[in-house]
Amino acid sequence: MMIKHNWQAVGKIGLLGLVYFFLTRLISEIAFLLAQPMYQPLRAFDPDGSFLYISLHHLWQGLFALLVIPPRNWSCFSACSGFSFRAVSAR
């Protein structure tokens, strides 16, 4: 019974992972879309496209990821995930 319950949880976590895959892909694509018009007027600083476009993309991507993370998750990693410092130091 316990094993069946665990496999159901694993399946649900897998589905949740699929949702997050599409979410990360969406954030990345939107970041590329926003970086493109910003890069064009700044192209004189990086005519070979070696760092500025990808930098703008990563700035937007990080910003959107921060915005999507629910505020309660900022401080709940330890509490929500069940890991404790004591359990690690006891090993």
Partner: protein, 141 residues
């Protein structure tokens, strides 16, 4: 000013001081910072929380969340065009590198319970890879 001559596999742009400096600054400051927030903080925290609330044991829960975030991290390094649907970039060497480092960053995230560790490790490793690429380019051309 062109310092090192032509482009290479490691640097798909003319290797001038400005290009290398900008690319190095991007790798050591932005790449890991942005990607760790996206692939570890955003993805792993809710997966770990859901697993814990579902009664999964600590180790399998960490392995599952870390495995899923690493898989997503690997898929993000495959470029796809939609019209027509095709793969525009795929490198098996890059996939193996991303698998190894992605698993390491996930491990760090779980062990340190903070996103700062993976961010620092990711930025530092990327800077080391770029530096090694430059040295190899200077030595072998």
């Amino acid at each position: 000013m062109r310092v090192f001559g032509d482009t290479s596999a490691a640097f798909p742009f003319p290797l001038t001081a400005r290009n290398f400096g900008g690319y190095f600054a991007f790798q050591i400051m932005l790449s890991g910072t942005s990607e760790e927030i996206l692939f570890r903080a955003l993805v792993m925290t809710p997966l770990l929380a859901y697993g814990k609330n579902s009664g999964l044991a600590e180790k399998p829960n960490a392995l599952l969340a870390g495995g899923i975030s690493t898989l997503i991290f690997m898929l993000a390094h495959i470029n796809i065009a939609l019209d027509p649907l095709r793969v525009t970039h795929f490198s098996i060497l890059q996939q193996l590198t991303v698998l190894t480092f992605g698993a390491f960053y996930a491990f760090l995230f779980v062990k340190t319970r903070s996103i700062l560790g993976p961010i620092l490790a990711h930025n530092l490793l990327n800077a080391v890879i770029v530096t090694i690429g430059l040295v190899l380019f200077l030595v072998f051309g």
